[in-house]
């Protein structure tokens, strides 16, 4: 069951990464699992589905569209979406409302300062704040999942304000169907 979901996720992500819109990620993660078979399937499926020419993928791919912005940044200890980012969130809300089958994961993150579990709380609050904006603009709850990584997955390594600013963020991750 777990493995199967993991595989579906891996395939989904592989497809999107094939379109060049996503970071390459790997859902099949516990070190001790036999990864050989999954890796093979991932490669094959990625090519197969990518060749279908997905229209939604193209919309998401347009570098001039606000949809190409997938990261929202936050002030220290804050979960308020800045005024200049509200249009970005609104664009994602419009897209998701128009594509009710499309699902996103909102990944909340914090900078490294302070307690790890409290930072999980901060990342969660940031993700919830984006989620509320999306839902307020018509996205259905089923389309949105949140996960907080706190300070566990920094976008930038480093121990100064410049790194911290880039790590206080919510990443909007589109899932394939």
């Amino acid at each position: 069951m777990n493995i199967r979901i993991g595989l579906v996720w891996t395939l989904a992500l592989a497809v999107l990464s094939g379109c060049g819109t996503m970071d390459k990620r790997d859902a099949d993660d516990v070190a001790v699992e036999d990864r050989g078979a999954a890796t093979g399937a991932e490669g094959a499926q990625s090519r197969g589905l990518g060749a279908d020419g997905d229209m939604r993928g193209m919309a998401l791919d347009d570098p001039d569209s606000p949809l190409s912005v997938r990261t929202i940044y936050f002030e220290f200890d804050s979960s308020e979406v800045a005024a200049e980012d509200r249009e970005v969130v609104a664009a994602h809300a419009r897209y998701l409302s128009a594509n009710p089958q499309q699902q996103v994961v909102l990944e909340g993150h914090a900078d490294e300062r302070g307690s790890r579990e409290y930072n999980i709380g901060l990342g969660d609050r940031r993700a919830q704040s984006v989620r509320r904006m999306l839902e307020f603009q018509g996205v259905t709850p089923d389309q949105v999942r949140t996960v907080s990584y706190g300070e566990e997955k920094p976008a930038v390594e480093g121990h100064d304000e410049q790194a911290w600013r880039q790590n206080r963020r919510v990443e909007i991750v589109y899932m394939d169907q």
Binding site: S115, E117, R125, T146, H159
Partner: protein
């Protein structure tokens, strides 16, 4: 609540407590002023060649790390007695040691040994303690820690915590190549064993009161989940997998409940999960972040972190309910509480006036806060089961290492990996 073991995953995956390659190395970072002078004479060896472990060396290192003892260097010993009748107490008085430990290791065949030792009061010329332990090649270090515990208790009146374990998370690699590992090692960093490896973050290991199980948070399915894992068998059970946060597990003193943080209702709140029935009870109700529950040793209240007052501070809440009482008032950031076994002191994470995150100890009766650590980004304080030392995570040269300090801040030491970072230490309860 789902109650599923994934036997198939377990079969593929688990090598219960397999040995890990990377050992933690210890360096003592601050002094031992006022420590008791003691001599731990190299133990006699009844077999061929050199003994399989330097038992006296392990005992002396343990006593040194406590900060309460200053073992005499071997080079300063005028004699190296093995049997009581070989001791010249005058020699030991001359070099100024108060106490003396002698002993020997006797092979019994097939990898089995006997370790016997005696502790003497040098001035009275009297034996204070003495034991004989059957042991094996694999357990010689553990036996040495046991000897150190007995010496420590005989001379300080407090239980030693050398024969205990520490759990911690290691991370190697950057970005998408990060590898997370949950490890358990002896309290001196030796003998590390891998509990779990993952390409996704692992967090917040918490020891069951019997030291046989760990609860932890894993993101292996790209969502937060809490597992409880039996260390000996490697079998594990998923105990929390709700929408949003599944974090900060903390065992009740009776080992039957976990306090944890969930955000399934849209906001981080503290819940209590009964492990027998899988029943979940919500404890906090506030739009702020409520997290990091820590059980008081009597099991009747929890201390937790909440920003309900505008900044993260510690609050205390009775298990039966009622209004949370705020405990910390000094500074704009107090979090990550761990109870001392006396139930009176809390280790916590405090942001000082210069913006540095440091470990502090708060006396709950007097309300006083004492800073223990001196780093910029310290975190995750964890008391030794005898309450004398605090283990925490710190950074040296931008890299995560573990550090231990005595509660009075007098003694310090660091435990570091050859490569990668170490963090989120959790000191085990007493074993057995």
């Amino acid at each position: 609540m789902k109650k599923i073991i994934y036997p198939f995953v377990l079969l593929l995956c688990w090598f219960a407590l397999q040995p890990a390659r990377a050992e933690l190395t210890i360096e003592i970072t601050s002094g031992t002023e006022g420590a008791l002078p003691i001599a731990v004479v190299p133990f006699g060896w009844g077999g061929p060649g050199v003994p399989p472990e330097d038992v006296a060396g392990i005992v002396a290192a343990d006593l040194t790390r406590s900060g309460q003892f200053a073992p005499l260097p071997e080079a300063d010993m005028l004699s190296k007695p093995v049997r009581p009748e070989d001791i010249s107490f005058r020699d030991w008085r001359a070099v100024g040691v108060d106490n003396l430990v002698i002993g020997r290791i006797t092979p019994q065949g097939e990898g089995r040994y006997t370790v016997d030792f005696r502790l003497f009061d040098v001035f009275r010329g009297r034996q204070l303690s003495g034991y004989s332990f059957p042991t094996t090649r694999e357990r010689l270090r553990e036996t040495a820690h046991r000897v150190a515990d007995i010496v420590y208790e005989a001379l300080t009146g407090e239980r030693g915590a050398f024969r205990t374990w520490i759990a911690y998370v290691t991370v190697t690699g950057d970005g998408d190549d990060r590898r997370y590992s949950l490890q358990v090692a002896d309290s001196d960093g030796h003998n590390p064993r891998t509990v779990l490896r993952s390409r996704q973050p692992l967090m917040s290991p918490a020891w069951s009161p019997d030291a046989r199980r760990l609860a932890y948070v894993t993101f292996e399915q790209e969502t937060a989940e809490i597992y409880v894992q039996e260390l000996a068998s490697g079998e594990r059970r998923k105990v929390a997998s709700h929408q949003g946060i599944n974090g900060a597990p903390a065992w009740s003193p009776d080992g039957r409940r976990l306090a944890l943080t969930l955000s399934q209702d849209g906001n981080a709140e503290i819940y209590i999960l009964s492990l027998d029935s899988d029943r979940l009870r919500r404890l906090t109700r506030h739009p702020g972040i409520d997290t990091e529950p820590a059980w008081a040793p009597d099991g009747r209240s929890l201390v937790f972190t909440s920003d309900r007052g505008g900044s993260p501070q510690l609050y205390r809440l009775a298990i039966d309910g009622g209004r949370p009482e705020r405990l910390t008032f000094e500074g704009g950031y107090n979090a990550s509480a761990d109870f001392a076994p006396d139930g009176r002191h809390l280790a916590l994470l405090h942001r000082d006036g210069r913006g540095a995150y440091r470990v502090a100890v708060q006396d709950l009766e007097r309300g006083m806060l004492n800073l223990v650590s001196e780093g910029q980004l310290d975190e995750s304080p964890s008391f030794a089961p005898n309450g004398r030392m605090i283990l925490y995570a710190t950074e040296v040269g931008g890299r995560g290492v573990l550090a231990a300090a005595s509660v009075d801040g007098r003694v310090g030491q660091r435990l570091r990996l050859q490569e990668g970072v170490v963090r989120e230490p959790a000191w085990s309860p007493f074993l057995e």
